[in-house]
């Protein structure tokens, strides 16, 4: 261990001395390279612009079926909420004393819907839906909120193009907001 550390430090010093930007020997030599396939299998992060959304698509009508089977028992037949969060309605309430925060009224980015459903829903079997089913359920929830038409089919490009009503209502952290 000590010999290895000493070697590692020596290598770093040598590399620094030559100002080399090439694949530097690291200080501790711990961990192993992650392959592209391993990263692709685990990286399910979808950006707000839709980056890293997978191939495939899903329709509102298919989403209605999947929702009834997989989601309605917690979120209600029409996304009105129950054991799980309310998903639908509330537009126009966010600036009132009784705000109703739903996907349609509060969520700023539509691709986040895909990201969250794929990684965490349904709660009793997360990551069990196919990408097509996730697109379809996303489309159905957006349709229930009046944000896409009943005949819509969403894919990476069209999901990212959905403009959420509350998108521009998020601001930075202005604390400390009480000063003495």
């Amino acid at each position: 261990m000590r010999w290895r550390e000493t070697c590692g430090i020596a290598v770093v010093i040598v590399l620094c001395a030559f100002a080399s930007g090439a694949q530097a020997q690291t200080l501790y030599g711990l961990g192993r390279p992650a392959t592209a396939a391993e990263i692709a299998g685990w990286n399910i992060d979808v950006g707000r612009d839709g980056s890293n959304l997978p191939k495939g698509s899903g329709s509102v009508s298919r989403g209605r079926e999947v929702f009834a089977q997989q989601c309605a028992s917690c979120h209600g037949d029409k996304g009105e909420g129950g054991l799980g969060d309310r998903l639908v309605g509330g537009q126009g309430t966010i600036a009132t004393p009784k705000p109703i925060r739903t996907v349609g009224s509060y969520w700023p980015y539509a691709p986040t819907l895909f990201d969250y459903i794929r990684r965490a829903m349904p709660q009793n079997a997360p990551q069990s839906l196919s990408d097509e089913e996730v697109y379809a359920v996303s489309a159905y929830i957006l349709n229930l909120n009046g944000l896409v038409g009943a005949d819509a089919t969403l894919d990476a490009k069209s999901l990212a193009a959905v403009k959420m009503p509350n998108r521009d209502r998020f601001v930075g952290d202005a604390r400390p907001d009480v000063k003495h």
Partner: protein, 423 residues
């Protein structure tokens, strides 16, 4: 259970002890055996020899992992019995029952979003990828081979408590989603250096290996300042409820960001805008705008004794004690008022006062037996003063939900009963 520092010989002490026993029995089931009579209980008091001195006790090794005295069975986490579901839920630390600044691991608060996974550490991996020179995968053995460090820090859920009624009855009901521990692990900065950050690396998206695959974006400045990858808590491996075998730890930031069961760190140029940092954990203002990426837990304190649900047995000496903390650094001062906020005096701070850690404060007090309102306010090393609830509500409104760090006063009635003065 609670301190019984009052002298036993005084009638006041006896009254208090009787109350405490009754309280313990009510809270934790029958502490005294059903058949134990009052007369039998006094058999163990002076001048008699107590029964537990007349026979050998339990053999050594009867508990290979120790548990508290059966007389402390009422000191447990505090969880609502009426939640809609318990998969995404929280349980609270019984702050009013604890001393010092370290929360026992079994009483550390919990907040889960997809239940508590059971993870075999031999099969757990941490993937570090994105804007790095060398994407890497670490085993737990790899991470434990890095230089280690231990630091004491608090962890607090950002919703502790909300802004609208009903307000909690006890200190735990109110602010029991804060705890403090000694954390051991490796500096995140060291692990990032191993992979080599690219120049446009500005955020790191952390993901848990739970059923929620909980995801939060962390600014790179925090990752390089004092973030840790933690595998041990208070000297032992993390409990499953705290992220076994590995969690991220971000001192002073809202608890949700210290992602448990950490399996992936994705270095990015911008936040991922996950569900947890857009639809949740954003602070809604009365005008309909919402603050996002509001990370720090601001300075806060609570008196834990005497506090709601307790009772002062008699006038006379009582120590007022509690905890203070700030996500921005050390507690500089804690001020106490025993006259409804008319005057304030500095409390004693128990050393060591550590950055982004609970700090225990104390004030000796003579209660005159008249109704009183007691409260504490923390001032941290930045000079920030803990505000009143009214001050926060004036700026934030009742729907802000997170980051409530209000002063919380307790009302003491003439009969000694302590209740929430704002409820």
């Amino acid at each position: 259970m609670s301190s019984t520092s009052d002298a036993d010989d005084k009638p006041a002490g006896t009254t208090r002890r009787r109350f405490l026993r009754a309280g313990a029995a009510a809270a934790g089931g029958t502490v005294l055996g059903a058949g134990a009579s009052v007369a039998a209980a006094t058999d163990n008091l002076p001048p008699n020899i107590p029964e537990w001195m007349k026979a050998a006790g339990e053999p050594t090794g009867g508990q290979l992992y120790g548990a508290p005295s059966p007389f402390e069975k009422g000191v447990v986490k505090n969880i609502s019995k009426t939640l809609k579901q318990y998969i995404s839920a929280s349980s609270r630390t019984p702050l009013q029952e604890l001393d010092g600044i370290i929360t026992p691991n079994g009483l550390f608060y919990e907040r889960h979003h997809g239940g508590v996974p059971t993870i075999d550490p031999a099969q757990h991996r941490l993937m570090l990828h994105g804007l790095v020179e060398r994407p890497l995968i670490f085993t737990m053995d790899d991470l434990r081979r890095f230089p280690s460090e231990s630091r004491v820090h608090f962890l607090e859920c950002s919703g502790n408590p909300g802004y609208s009624k009903p307000y909690g009855k006890t200190a735990s009901d109110l602010v029991g989603l804060v705890s403090c521990a000694e954390w051991t692990g490796v500096s995140l900065k060291l692990v990032l250096q191993e992979a080599g950050l690219k120049p446009d690396a500005k955020w790191i998206v952390a993901e848990g290996a739970d059923a929620a695959a909980l995801t939060r974006s962390i600014p790179i400045e925090k990752c390089l300042e004092d973030a840790m990858l933690v595998y041990s808590q208070n000297g032992e491996r993390l409990r499953p409820q705290q992220g076994y075998p590995l969690r991220l730890f971000l001192p002073g930031f809202e608890g949700n960001m210290s992602v448990k069961w950490l399996r992936r760190l994705h270095v990015t140029a911008e936040p991922v805008y996950s569900r947890e940092e857009t639809s949740k954990y954003t602070d809604l203002l009365p005008d309909g705008t919402a603050r996002e990426f509001s990370f720090y837990m601001e300075a806060k304190s609570i008196i834990t004794r005497p506090s709601g649900g307790q009772r002062l047995g008699a006038p006379g000496f009582h120590e007022i004690t509690g905890i203070a903390w700030s996500g921005h650094g050390k507690i500089a001062r804690v001020e106490l008022s025993v006259d409804e906020g008319k005057s304030w005096q500095s409390a004693q701070l128990q050393e060591p006062v550590l950055t982004r850690a609970l700090t225990r404060f104390r004030l000796p007090w003579q209660w005159d037996g008249k109704p009183a309102v007691i409260q504490s306010r923390a001032i941290d090393e930045t000079g920030y003063v803990q505000p009143t609830l009214a001050e926060l509500l004036a700026v934030r409104g009742e729907n802000y939900f997170y980051h409530n760090n209000a002063i919380w006063p307790w009302r003491i009635a003439a009969d000694g009963e302590v209740t929430n003065a704002l409820a």
